[in-house]
Symmetry: C2
């Protein structure tokens, strides 16, 4: 009757509030979900939620299924992890590197949870822009690199984690804050603040300014997100950052945030690992945990299409 897939769907439906996004979260088409739910409703012979409302609203039966999902799904997940440990050995090494400091925000909670579940796996995290992590990954010095531009490389496998919008942070009194989206020309007279990395690694350039052949008036760098936003807040420049890195500042009403382009610029974060670790039990679990944690803690992110 009720299947695990139904529970996952319903939970995704609650988390996202719409069939379209729920579908993408469980890697199905929206149509599939429509069928699936209709079918379940028929079998239970009662409806589970009201579709007509903006964030869809669950009936009491729907809520009952949701509490079931909340009880059951974590149990399944835990059991699967326990078995993975039994099957795949409890130990291993997981040296990570991030290319962008703001990733700390979701990576730290992920690491915390992971460490609890795999106490025997040795972990290390190196960041900093001093060396190129991908060759180190290939060489075996690192085991996982978080990056947003996956360049094809022998023996390296990329797994998409999630997709997010890159948005422009600007002072609340900045004239551009009155536009509801920003076009490349708008930045021609601005000071752009970026992480100190090669400019063709940055989406603002590769996907926004360069295609329109626009150059900002000035470019400044800063290593830390907080730093960048202090500069932005005090009108010393503007900066393009992942939306999830900005939410807390927006909520504190510290800066204004605007989409780039009417469609918005969307980017995907990948975990790069070595092919040979692709099926390692603890690695698989780490990736799943990372996704779980991100979806829970980060707002405005979406599921990435399959690699």
């Amino acid at each position: 009757m009720i299947e695990l897939r139904h529970l996952k769907t319903l939970a995704a439906l609650r988390d996202t509030g719409s069939l379209v996004e729920a579908a993408e979260r469980v890697f199905l088409t929206q149509s599939a979900l429509s069928h699936q739910i209709k079918d379940l409703e028929e079998r239970l012979n009662c409806s589970l939620f009201i579709r007509k409302t903006k964030p869809i609203c669950f009936t009491s039966a729907g809520q009952r299924v949701l509490t079931l999902a909340d009880d059951v799904l974590p149990m399944i997940r835990n059991a699967e992890r326990d078995i993975a440990r039994l099957a795949g050995g409890e130990t291993g090494r997981l040296n990570m590197a991030i290319e962008c400091h703001s990733c700390f925000q979701w990576l730290m909670p992920t690491i915390d949870i992971f460490r609890e579940n795999w106490p025997e796996v040795e972990m290390d995290l190196s960041s900093g822009f001093s060396f190129s992590p991908l060759p180190a990954l290939a060489r075996g010095e690192l085991d996982l690199v978080i990056t947003s531009d996956p360049k094809e490389m022998n023996g390296i496998y990329y797994e998409a984690l999630f997709t997010y919008e890159v948005q422009l942070a600007l002072s609340k009194k900045h004239p551009l804050a009155r536009k509801n989206h920003i076009e490349p020309q708008d930045l021609a007279s601005e000071t752009l603040i970026c992480y100190p990395v090669d400019r063709n690694r940055l989406d603002v350039f590769t996907r926004f300014l360069d295609p329109a052949d626009v150059e900002p008036n000035e470019i400044r760098t800063a290593e830390l997100t907080v730093m960048m936003l202090q500069l932005v807040a005090s009108s010393r420049g503007i900066s393009a950052l992942p939306c999830w890195a900005l939410t807390e500042y927006v909520e504190r009403d510290y800066v204004a945030v605007r989409p780039l382009t009417s469609k918005g610029i969307w980017s995907t974060l990948y975990a790069a690992i070595r092919e040979d670790q692709k099926n390692s039990e603890f690695m698989r679990d780490f990736l799943v945990t990372a996704r779980e944690t991100s979806f829970k803690n980060l707002s405005g992110i979406r599921t990435a299409a399959k690699t």
Copy 2:
């Protein structure tokens, strides 16, 4: 990865101790189960139980899955019942009748559990051999009749509950107790003790004695199982009864028990209900509960083939 079906299979496997019986318990072929488990083991990439042993023995991974099953399956069942109540209304009437007194043994616990879950359903149980329950069921005076011979009748639907062996109870010092199975001729000189019902309603006659054209020396009747067994124990006669009605007496070493025929005589217990109640939510739940309870409390019973 892990699916509910796997949990059900593993639980059945533990309860029955063999693939063949587990398969019948979940209404699949033994082959299906073999494939299913093999597939799961591959996906988890570890084996779940050792096949070579008599009552199969679970690995630690298998045990982990079993505890998962024990946690999860009841939750699912409860949720489904809750939703059934939400969908189908909480109230109704359930007047039952049994044709054989020994059914009290499993029916009482069933009723207890059912009453907790459906407090608003009005229940009544009439037994006694004074009236024929099936016409009363058709007329609408009764809602459910437990019987072991389903005679085709308009508007009546039979649902098989479980299958059991009819065995011969005899005094421990009875000469026949030395044979390891009983043939019809063996009873020609015996006193047979039966429930006071029409003899063509009794399997001992219809499926054992009559086909061999054997008549017992004497026939006595008794209404209650305890009574029958007192007579048997004191060598005043022998009696053919469902194995599950005998286990407690055998365990107490009160009587001896032997199969009829080398193959044994197997019989099936049915719930007769009116067609129109077939899909009633509480009726469906009652039948499932009845089966659950029986399998838990009665030893030596097997799943009945689909009606």
